[in-house]
């Protein structure tokens, strides 16, 4: 009898372990931090717009689909996603607001199309304009080369009579650099971002005659390794001039023919990770060349959403370097705008 009691207790304990785990993470841990192409669908499913039930069940459908997909069982992954869609349709207008349910179905169908290989991405466009630095006048006939920093793929167009250009039918997204040269020898560059969720991106480039200064350096990651294909942008606040380029295979970069407009802020960025870094320097009449290296850091802690946005809990959720203090906002921001 004693053995039976011990056995029963053991079985009960073992069976309670997953139950406790399930309870502790509210049942949705299974679909947190899923890889692409399931990430977006999982995030949308966890939104409070989806009541529970059916939220936990739907979450497990996505997680199961991901597991099947990972194992190469595409059919089973699609089956799970079809059951997910059926669940959404069942809850539409009841536990899930109708328009949000439609968005969930659309995203699930997108994932299915990726799995079946029938996904056709919407094409995107980069629209831009080229203007003179001094007169702000549109520059017609300028040659514009747009290069995505991660893939290196580039597209060259010419501005129209209004100084505008458009690169259409793009299926690639990410951060890009627009380099411009004009027939009268002016040059300029600017950075832009084209997100895969957007149909277009807009970039304005100002062009000017060549300056006599240069900035050199190397981009490193936080472990000290050189970073190729990183965006490097120099900002001169005194004159609002900006220059952008991409680091080479060995992580080095050079920004030539820039105007030595005093203090500069140098920003580095890696497209695939979002890692970034910055440094400062000075280019003046005394110093026409400088070398500044950049170290890119990815965030060490990622919150589930923006936390403590009003600093009501001090610096909880925020990362700091150097001196950061919390004060009564009215001491600094004394003018609650009463309108214009």
């Amino acid at each position: 009898m004693l053995r039976l009691i011990v056995l029963f207790s053991s079985l009960l304990t073992i069976s309670l372990i997953p139950l406790q785990t399930y309870a502790s993470n509210n049942g949705t841990a299974a679909c947190e931090a899923l890889p692409e192409p399931f990430q977006q669908l999982a995030t949308m499913t966890l939104d409070p717009s989806v009541e529970n039930p059916p939220q936990v069940g739907l979450c497990h459908r996505v997680a199961n689909a991901e597991k099947h997909f990972e194992k190469g069982s595409d059919d089973k992954a699609i089956q799970e996603l079809n059951k997910y869609i059926a669940g959404i349709n069942q809850g539409s207008g009841k536990s899930i607001e109708e328009s949000y349910a439609a968005a969930l179905v659309s995203e699930a169908e997108r994932v299915i199309s990726i799995i079946t290989g029938t996904f056709e991405p919407d094409t995107m466009a980069i629209n831009g304009g080229v203007f003179g630095y001094s007169d702000q006048a549109p520059v017609a006939g300028a040659t514009v080369t747009v290069s995505f920093i991660e893939s290196g793929s580039s597209f060259t167009v010419t501005t129209d009579s209004n100084g505008l250009f458009s690169i259409t039918d793009l299926t690639e997204s990410g951060v890009y650099v627009a380099d411009v040269t004009t027939s009268d020898g002016r040059t300029g560059s600017a950075q832009g971002s084209l997100l895969e969720t957007e149909s277009s991106s807009s970039v304005l480039v100002t062009v000017d005659l060549a300056g006599s200064s240069a900035i050199y350096g190397t981009v490193f990651d936080s472990s000290g390794q050189p970073v190729p294909g990183a965006l490097v942008t120099a900002i001169f606040p005194d004159t609002d001039r900006k220059y952008s380029t991409t680091s080479s295979a060995d992580g080095s970069f050079s920004l030539m023919n820039v105007h030595g407009d005093g203090t500069l802020i140098l920003v580095g960025f890696k497209n695939d990770t979002g890692a970034s870094g910055s440094t400062t320097g000075v280019l003046s009449s005394y110093t026409s060349q400088i070398t500044r290296n950049l170290t890119l850091k990815a965030p060490e802690t990622v919150n589930a959403e923006l936390l403590n946005s009003g600093f009501e809990n001090g610096l909880d959720g925020w990362s700091t370097e150097g001196s950061v203090t919390i004060i009564d906002r009215d001491l600094v921001f004394t003018t609650p705008d009463s309108g214009n």
């Binding site: 939104d47 951060v175 304005l204 203090t263």
Partner: protein, 278 residues
């Protein structure tokens, strides 16, 4: 409840003595009845080995996050003595995510206009409003970072004051009845709206055009874009104050041909009760 516990978290590093004295007076923060009590952070390069002060947060963008907005103020003791020299501290606010980098605000001592100081610093700039679109970043990890860096010396300090970061959600915006129409050249759009306003412009011409929209308020932003024929662009502006508040936007173009239609959405419209929280 003793609110001072929540109002004055531990000071993380060295700050000027005068600033500490002022911080002691920070306990009297007020907020309108029923409004959340929020505070501000001050990022300084004082005492930093790297000559840099940074405040940052990385987070996953939830669905329905439309934008984040806020206010900054650059403070420096390099003004007025070192104004015009290369002893010229800088500030930078940026948003980064895989596939996106946006410089929210940047500047230095020389590029700023100055008034008398606060928190122990010699000078303070006007407030700098910013607004960052997050609508295309749902599910992605973004990082919001505010920095102050020394340039040329590490002796004279500067700081960046960062006001509470406001989250704007899609469901907060409603169309403003009776607002909207067509523009064929430079024009003004004005009215009583909420703390955040979305202006959507559609190019009705057969030619592409540039468009620039300036919030003419004291700390207003200017936003620019290119719109191809039959395409649209949306600009979001935000301000800190009680709703409703007066807004005035100047719309202009660098292009010869300009025919656009526009609509206005806001977080407050006629018929809604006033909102004293900001």
């Amino acid at each position: 409840m003793d609110m001072t516990k929540f109002r004055l978290p531990a000071i993380s590093a060295v700050v000027p003595c005068t600033a500490l004295m002022l911080l002691a007076g920070a306990q009297g923060a007020t907020a309108a009845d029923g409004c959340p009590v929020t505070q501000a952070a001050v990022v300084s390069n004082a005492g930093s080995q790297s000559a840099k002060g940074t405040l940052s947060q990385a987070f996953v963008v939830p669905p329905a996050y439309e934008a984040v907005s806020g206010r900054l103020r650059f403070l420096s003791s390099e003004w007025p003595q070192y104004y015009g020299t290369e002893y010229n501290d800088t500030y930078l606010a940026r948003l980064t995510a895989p596939g996106k980098v946006e410089i929210i605000a940047s500047g230095n001592v020389n590029s700023s206009s100055w008034s008398s100081g606060m928190l122990g610093y010699n000078g303070a700039t006007p407030e700098i409003n910013y607004n960052v679109d997050l609508s295309g970043l749902v599910g992605k990890t973004v990082q919001l970072a505010y920095e102050v860096q020394d340039v040329g010396d590490t002796i004279v300090d500067s700081a960046l004051a960062v006001d509470a970061v406001k989250i704007l959600r899609t469901e907060q915006f409603v169309p403003v009845p009776g607002e909207g129409g067509a523009l064929t050249g430079s024009a003004t759009i004005s009215g009583s709206y909420g703390q955040a306003v979305k202006l959507t412009f559609k190019n009705q011409n057969i030619l592409g055009t540039t468009i620039s929209v300036k919030d003419t308020g004291p700390f207003g932003e200017t936003k620019e874009s290119i719109i191809l024929p039959q395409q649209s662009v949306t600009f979001t502006f935000s301000s800190f104050g009680e709703e409703p508040m007066g807004w005035n936007f100047e719309v202009s173009t660098k292009s010869d041909a300009f025919v656009v239609s526009y609509g206005v959405e806001s977080t407050w419209t006629e018929g809604m009760p006033p909102n004293p929280c900001y």
